[in-house]
């Protein structure tokens, strides 16, 4: 198994998993505590429309995905301000529209869409070196912005109304958080694909949340768990020659469901100690 490390593609896969895990740990923690998992799902599926558009226009499909994901994030933030209560229905509509648009664009584009399957389900074993640099840059950018805004992000995700009373401009903070979520989603498309993005964004954070007493613990825990999940998933997918994205998600889900019953025991242990 160790000989796999001799292959550049394998090392790249591990590095890509590492970078994506950090971005997911940071952003996923806020997504989970703010209960925005379905919103993140909507953004990622809307991004499929962008991939179709990319094929249609003959540009890099990922660039199309990035444009649509960020556009959808911004639009969602705006709609959220105007009509909070209908957000759930709207997410469903955006979700379906994005997928449908993607399929239509790919259908009317002459010829064959070569990497379509890998955009849907991801293929971390095919991440080229140039993309790694871009991912490193994005991850560093996401971490920097979150570090600067950290006290305000926590205040807004905990209690938006009180944040407004304290003049923290929660709407602006939420726009930034949603745009960062959009960026993270685009990064994840390479790793696990559109269909499974929500899993990597939410499962490590949801697992870490069971045992976290503060946002800092949650972010660090989610990042570490993400690294463990992606690394384990990549090894397993290599060893058994199975799809990497799906393997990473199944590993994450197994740990999450396995940890659920442990939560109570750990809390009780803490209270008695």
């Amino acid at each position: 198994m160790i000989e796999a490390l001799g292959f550049e593609f394998f090392r790249n896969a591990l590095i890509a998993g590492f970078l994506a895990s950090i971005a997911c740990g940071v952003i996923g923690s806020f997504v989970v505590v703010k209960r925005m998992a379905s919103l993140a799902g909507g953004i990622s599926h809307a991004a499929f429309g962008g991939i179709g558009l990319g094929y249609f226009l003959g540009i890099d499909p990922l660039a199309g995905a990035a444009a649509v994901a960020l556009g959808t994030s911004g639009a969602t933030a705006w709609i959220r301000m105007k009509a909070d209560q209908h957000l759930d229905t709207l997410v469903g509509a955006v979700w379906a529209t994005g997928m449908a648009a993607g399929i239509l664009f790919i259908y009317i584009t002459p010829g064959f869409a070569p990497d379509l399957f890998s955009y849907l389900f991801g293929n971390i074993l095919l991440v080229p070196r140039g993309t790694l640099w871009l991912m490193a840059l994005l991850t560093a950018g996401i971490c920097t912005i979150v570090a600067i805004l950290y006290p305000r992000l926590v205040a807004v995700t905990f209690d938006e109304e009180y944040a407004a009373v304290m003049d923290l401009h929660p709407n602006r903070i939420m726009v930034i958080l949603l745009l960062l979520t959009g960026l993270t989603v685009v990064m994840l498309i390479q790793i696990v694909g559109i269909i499974l993005v929500i899993a990597l964004l939410t499962l490590p954070a949801a697992t870490a949340r069971l045992f976290s007493r503060s946002m800092k613990e949650l972010i660090v825990g989610a990042s570490l768990l993400g690294i463990v999940f992606t690394t384990a998933g990549i090894w397993l997918s290599y060893a058994f020659d199975i799809p990497s994205g799906a393997t990473i998600v199944i590993v994450s889900a197994c740990v999450y469901f396995g940890a659920l019953p442990l939560q109570r025991r750990i809390q009780e242990h803490r209270q008695t100690s």
Binding site: I148, P151, F158, V165, M166, D167, S214, E217
Partner: protein
Amino acid sequence: MGGVSMKPVIEVEHLNLSQNGNFVLEDINLTIREHEFHAIIGPNGGGKTTLLKVILGLIRPDSGMVRVMDGTPDEMRSHLGYVPQFRTFDFQFPISVQDMVVSGRLGRLKGPFRRFTHEDTDAADEAMETMQITHLKNRPIHDISGGERQRAIIARALAGKPSVLLLDEPTVYVDGPTAVRFYDILSQLRESITIVLVTHDISALSPDVTHISCVNRRLFTHGDNQITDDMLAGAYPCPVELIAHGVPHRVITEHDNRVFGGRK
């Protein structure tokens, strides 16, 4: 007496607000002066919470004037401490009591980073001391009791050192004995700040309340702490049931002398 000479901290004049085509608040006039303990009572859905949010500047009225300490709510909001309804909180959020309380200082910090200083942690410590939750400071909010959570929410508001404390239904999730202790704390606070308390539960009113207003779309008050039949008849759709409990008169008359003479 009764603090007529005191400076007004909140003034509302001819305020109208409609939502979805219905009047929520109609021609509201209200003056709250320094050191009042002002209870705003009324039935659920009567517009009490909305009135608080208008005072906080979170909701814009259609017409009328709102002044907070001689400024607009937006300008003077940092002087207001707000205790929202308990049910609006997600107590599963991973945050300790101390971190939650100190977050009440964020409104006073400036610049892009907004990191807390010693002054902020000291203010948070003082607020936790006042609300008697210092021993819980490192506990996450999901494993403390309902009454302790309520005190943590108030401590967060106090950490910002407000001149006026606005509380929305603070006793709903608190049991009887805890509510009594809770009002003791509020009575102490009254010596340094003005308190505005919104509740639908008039049986839970503290005897130390100095002024009472009844809100059900319109506002009814006599400018003192009396609840009279005409106020209730105006504000409550079915006043008979409430008066049958013997509540309104008991709350006030017994403590009349204390409020007007005994307490400063």
